[in-house]
Symmetry: C2
Subunit: 375 residues, 2 copies
């Protein structure tokens, strides 16, 4: 416990800590209690845990054991298709029936889907109550639980409804990741690779040299990777809470990655697998522009692939380029694009042309198509 | 136009103006255009108007005529029963289908129901876009359009889901009120009476001496009343954006008023009619405590009744007192209650006992019951 890492997120609207460790779960109850009641167990401020039956079955007892009095459980089925306003409304009705008031506190215990929904539920319930994130996937630990972006999907698109609402605290216990399907772990680790590329060469090098330990789920290796990845996201969010500038660099690989996800109706690749392709394409564009050396570009490709395999999908290059024009992050028509400038450094540009994009997408699709043939 | 009144709302999170006049409607388009584009008609930032068919039929043309390019219309049926997440979601889907992006702007054109829903839609669409309020009921002009409280009802209770999200500007044209059902006008004016009691003796006196002109809908009289009422709300909200202290005084008459509304399932009285009873009861409690002189208490009763008639409803005193314990504004059990200290001054107390409340509720119900007998 003593060597847990604590990283602060400091924004204009709030400051909170992300704690990372490999045996945190049984201690979260006491931590939340002391955040709320100064450790007096006054217990007036009730805790509502949002989770799915699968996650609760695997890890619920260890979480629950740490609470001075049992929290109320609110259950949602696993799966992105439930990340909708109707689910959030149903949870809000249940909270009201349990007498939740403005002093009540939500705790998100799950992956990014549960974290995003719980954060939005907290943002809207009685116009805003407090919440805590206990992320249980690698992606949620290094990315979605930090930064205050919450929300749900519309039929018209992902994450189109939501709010900025920061948690009181984030507790990331890497031991929870042991039950994660290996493909989810690997895909999530692409966000760590991304963090290394854009801001942290030491993290990148660790991911490079220690990939075997990390992929095997070695606790110390994973805990270090999570902590370093969290630090990158926390720093970027602290500098740019509302995604007006710097925060855009977190989108390395995401412009084409989102296009791939949209083209395949989010059904063929995991998010991290799609952005892996996107990162390789972005690195290709940067290399063509001579913004990055051939050597560093090759290192990036190697590490991205180490956390693969990059899986094939069905799309064509023209369609992908057209989809990038619809990116939610575009404003008044200008497409923003993140390019690596080296390992540990990236920039946002707005002048990537259709032709450049198409060339990159075509190069990507020719590899994708060769994979399909051999598969 | 030159004698329109402009009142600023200044909060930590934003500053904006409320403009009040009696011929504002045809000029709102140009004002919004200049707010958005510096008057250049650049028109990149699209405007989406949320309204109901009835309101649009009555006043839509005058609003639309002022826009350099036609706004997109989003229609919702009139009525509190539609103030739900499902309506907001449907509007969000329509916006997305029309290609609304982060630079798009919503305009609420209707009463408090449409204003609250549109504000919440703006708060959540892509995690927050801008919006403008064009309130069309007296209640919306003097109360709901100002202060940034937005939201919808749950089955479990009114306004239980929402957000604080301030508009870019509020435009209150009192000429729109000419088509309002007289009962809606009178009920709304109880919020102005409330504003006078808690903060503005001159407004109170004007409402007292000029009640005939105000109730007849005289434009100058109404415009003055709206402007003065807006000033009270704007000042209170500016001092206490998040309803942590001072803003509670806006709840004069609302503790019992909300209990009456809940006891009658929101079906027997308009909101303003319920708070009229609540203001008389609160004044009675203050008089019993010798916090207010008998003379001032009598003046308050007289003016509240001038904007009546106070209508009867079906409830009993014990039930009403029990319902006040459920008030959303209570925290950790303590019931807050606003008492007038005189005309133009009020305070929030937390020590109103059940016995005091019951006595006041019983006095109220004995008048209510006598009304039922004579009705
Ligand atoms: N808010 C943000 O800033 C942000 C950033 C990135 C992604 N996201 C969102 O995050 C979501 C994706 O999150 P995700 O990848 O965590 O997906 P997820 O929440 O759907 O979890 C993936 C799967 O793993 C299961 N699971 C979770 N924890 C487990 C564990 N410890 N052991 C075994 N199984 C476990 C889940 O039940 C689910 O089936 C998307 O909706 C995305 O939009 C949000
Ligand atoms: N956000 C806040 O701070 C706040 C404060 C007070 C009340 N509210 C909310 O406001 C709502 C009540 O608002 P309301 O009283 O305006 O009710 P409303 O919006 O339902 O309007 C009342 C009726 O008048 C009609 N109408 C509106 N303008 C008209 C016009 N110019 N001519 C003819 N008919 C017209 C409407 O169609 C409706 O039938 C409630 O939902 C309440 O919760 C919010
Ligand atoms: Zn991502
Ligand atoms: Zn009111």
């Amino acid at each position: 416990m003593s060597n847990n890492t604590k990283i602060a997120v400091r924004t204009a609207s709030s400051t909170y800590e992300v704690e990372i460790g490999s045996d945190l779960l049984p201690h979260i109850g006491a931590r939340v209690d002391s955040l709320l009641n100064g450790g007096l167990c006054a217990g007036k401020q009730r805790v509502f845990v949002v989770t799915s039956p699968e996650i609760w079955k695997l890890h619920g007892e260890r979480l629950a054991s740490g609470f001075p009095s049992a929290p109320v459980l609110l259950s949602v089925p696993a799966g992105e298709q439930h990340k909708r306003l109707a689910t959030v409304e149903r949870l809000a009705e249940e909270m009201a029936q349990h007498g939740a008031d403005r002093d009540s506190v939500l705790l998100a215990f799950g992956g990014g889907v549960i974290g995003d929904m719980t954060g939005f539920l907290a943002a809207m319930y009685m116009r805003g109550i407090r919440y805590v994130q206990v992320p249980t996937t690698l992606l949620a630990q290094v990315d979605s639980s930090i930064g205050g972006k919450t929300g749900v999907n519309l039929a018209a698109g992902k994450n189109l409804a939501g709010a900025f609402h920061h948690p009181l605290a984030v507790y990331a216990d890497t031991s929870i990741l042991s039950t994660l399907p290996p493909a989810e772990l690997r895909a999530g680790l692409q966000e760590s690779v991304k963090a290394g590329i854009i801001r942290d060469r030491a993290l990148f090098d660790f991911l490079d040299t220690e990939s075997a330990a990390v992929l095997r789920g070695d606790r110390d290796a994973l805990t270090r990777v999570v902590a370093d990845s969290v630090r990158v996201k926390a720093d970027v969010v602290s500098a740019d809470e509302r995604e007006l500038g710097l925060r855009m660099i977190l989108n390395l690989g995401h412009t084409l990655g989102h296009a791939i996800e949209a083209a395949t109706q989010y059904k063929q690749l995991l998010h991290g697998e799609a952005i892996a392709w996107g990162m390789i394409a972005a690195t290709g564009i940067a290399a063509h522009r001579n913004l990055i050396t051939a050597d560093e570009a090759a290192q990036i490709e190697r590490v991205v692939r180490a956390y693969g395999p990059l899986r094939s999908f069905t799309a064509n290059a023209t369609e992908l380029v057209a989809l990038t024009a619809k990116d939610k992050k575009n404003r008044s028509g200008a497409r923003s694009f993140v390019l690596p400038l080296g390992i540990g450094d990236a920039t946002v540009v707005r002048d990537v042309s259709e032709a450049e994009l198409l060339e990159a997408a075509e190069a990507m699709m020719s590899e994708v198509n060769s994979l399909q043939v051999t598969a």
